[in-house]
Amino acid sequence: MPAVQETVERVRQIDVDQYKYGFVTDIETEKAPQGLSEEIVRFISARKEEPEWMLEWRLDAYRRWLTMREPTWAKVDYPKINYDELYYYAAPKNFVAPKSLDDVDPELLRTYEKLGIPLREQEMLAGVEGAGSRVAVDAVFDSVSVATTFKKELAAAGVIFMPISEAIREYPELVRKYLGSVVPVTDNFFATLNSAVFSDGSFVYVPKGVRCPMELSTYFRINERNTGQFERTLIIADEGSYVSYLEGCTAPQRDENQLHAAVVELIALDNAEIKYSTVQNWYPGDVEGKGGIYNFVTKRGDCRGRKAKISWTQVETGSAITWKYPSCILRGDESQGEFYSIAISNGRQQVDSGTKMIHLGKNTTSKIISKGIAAGKSENTYRGLVSAHRKATNARNFTNCDSLLIGDQCGAHTVPYIEAKTSTAIFEHEATTSKIAEDQLFYCQQRGLSEEEAIALIVNGFVKEVLQHLPMEFAVEAQKLISISLEGSVG
């Protein structure tokens, strides 16, 4: 298996610094004043040249947020966040939406090059073998989108792919119709905060019957100190369409914690399919747990039409704290939801992640495959809900969550909630927790692999079922990430 071989080599290459995306781009930024108030919300809205209704929407959310409390039910522990110390908007100075890549600050382009995200279309074509695997990228830097590639080609197919701030101006009726329709403004503390202050993110609309000609991708980068990133993504797949969307994220290595509170809404109409893949690699903090991103994210997909399908695949390796439950509302009859997850925690990372599959329509099916790997002094929790409502006849779910513990200082937990309100639902859930078997390790080591290489090999086998569901470009990166994240977990 060549990919596995690559992982092993990767582990060998990396010696001291495990987090290679920890650099800071030295670029002048313009920030909103510190803290959060109605003025800040107005400031962000004005900066984005938003219509009045959008501002009202944000202000409503802000007022609501003031009455809400931070949730405490997750199995994570962190000092209280002072929301008045954060900056809610940061953009490269004198930033105007670039007309072409030639207008983009070269410093920014270099940043994305360093991250391995080529923004020039010709480079992408040159860099990737085979014409079939091109990826259109929307690059979000702190609070603004700096570039979106392949816009023209996508437009020819009728696909709208642009920063959400632009979409609010150009397609207000579409945005207005769907924004907040899956994750309501009042959904939860972090989603409401996001609704008030979100700055950028991607907007995708795939028209009826169109199969999106390439993978779409957004690359999020937090750069500025003390800023929170509040991105908002909205994807609509109209009847009979298909889109595959990838998301990646990194941040510089800093001693203080930074907040990332995103909202992602997916809407799949009749016979539409959305495949959403994430490789989350925010800065996890150092070995002692200093610094790192607080990743408090609300992601939800709504299978609104008949035979709609939404599939979430995630590889979670970064962040000091992850609080994330990509969910599917299976509203349309015969709709399908899938969730494939690999969550790796090391050092002092804390992960509380899982999914919700809410069966409302008839003959709906869902599948959950979750692989949690805890190493170092980390805590790794799977928390998930599968529910079938009274009218969801013949709802079907299969859940499998396995946890692997590496070392005796970490914790792995499984908290599934299963609620069957109809007798015709068939729900199956299984979960296991174990460590890497001594005999497997021995077998590998006896054939000349070091302990670390052997672990990487076995872990790769453990998560293979999920990796298979990642698009090709991501699968390779994810595999490398897994080996990197576990670096230093032995001994």
């Binding site: 009455t67 409390r69 039910w73 009274r390 946890s403 513990l405 590496i406 070392g407 005796d408 200082q409 970490c410 914790g411 792995a412 937990h413 499984t414 908290v415 599934p416 909630y417 299963i418 609620e419 069957a420 309100k421 109809t422 007798s423 015709t424 639902a425 068939i426 729900f427 199956e428 859930h429 299984e430 979960a431 296991t432 927790t433 174990s434 460590k435």
Partner: protein, 432 residues
Amino acid sequence: MTADIQPIRTAAETALAEAFARFKQPLPAGEIARRDAAFAEFHKAGLPHRRVEEWKYTDLRAAMREAKPLAEPNSAAVVAMAKTAIAQFGSLGAARAVIVNGQYVQDLAQAADGVEITPLAAALTESSDLLASLGQSGAPASNTAVALNNAFASDGVLVRMSSRTKTTLHLALHQEGDHASYTRIVVAVDAGAEVELIETHTGSGAHQTNTMVEILVGEGARVAHYKLQDESRETLHLATLAAKLEGGVNFSSTALTKGANLARQQIFLTFAGEHSEAVLGGVSLAGARRHLDTTLFVDHAVPNCASRERYKTVLTDDARGVFQGKILVRRDAQKTDGQMKSDALLLSESAEMDLKPELEIYADDVVCAHGATAGAIDDELLFYLMARGIPRAEAETLMITAFAGEVFEGIENDAVRDIFVASAQNWLSNRG
């Protein structure tokens, strides 16, 4: 927002507070202090509701609209009724302790070698040494049912079992009337002893019962515990079983739950010594709008122990079943083997099953797993049986019997198994 504000007391909470004030008055000072502390544990949060994680699926605040008055002292007529009801079990074991409306009845007791029974009420007045064994079984004092039992239970039995040859104790609990009753049972099993405990709950009336059974198992002992819960269908039944196992113990507990309008059976199992094994199992059967909750907490605090949990729930009409099971494996509890499985069969469209099997694991060299399923009877299997000339109803009964039967198979005591099977069959033919 609301968490900092003193919650508004419900009628039941206010009534409980008043009942407690009256109840504690005649007690000695030391007892008052102990019970005040227990009631304070309850009072600070009040009756748990669905926003309280542990009670998410059993909203006690909504279910308990009123607090019934504490049971009056037993009349001869009540004791006679209890005697008749208990007669159905025949002679289940050598020893028997009978508790009617939360009060120990000496006249119906049966003594045996190796079984020392002290009524709790008597022990309280004499401040017996045995009292020290109260609250040592690992059940959390903050749990609502435990806190209320600590505050109110004034009778029950303290038992010491020492026989090295298998000795059976029948704990017969019976209720008559519309009252609230609290019973506390503590069984201390000596090292190396071999015992069977059979707990039966019967009665009629719309009462509220709160029973707490604590079992302290000494090194190398073997304990098989059985519980038949066949209380009146109007009852609110809160029950706590807390067992603490020293090393080398073999412990099992099997329950058949079919009574009560709302029942919450909580089990707290703590492994305190190495190389012990525990098997927990149960079958819950409910129809109408009844609500049966089984909540387990298995604490693997030491290495090299194994636990097995196997629960089955059959629901029909608008009944609701709840299973919450948590296996905790602490940092030091290496080589733990924990397996939990809970299956539910839903026979009607509007039945509901809520499952929450949980693993919380801090040790790496363990093998832990849980599984949970919910669904209707497999149509294909039903068709198979019907194609062979078995009428639908009978085919269904066959399949349900087989489904529940898995748990009963493990029962070593033939008399108990017969009672469980017959009782389950009886439910099946009425499906109530």
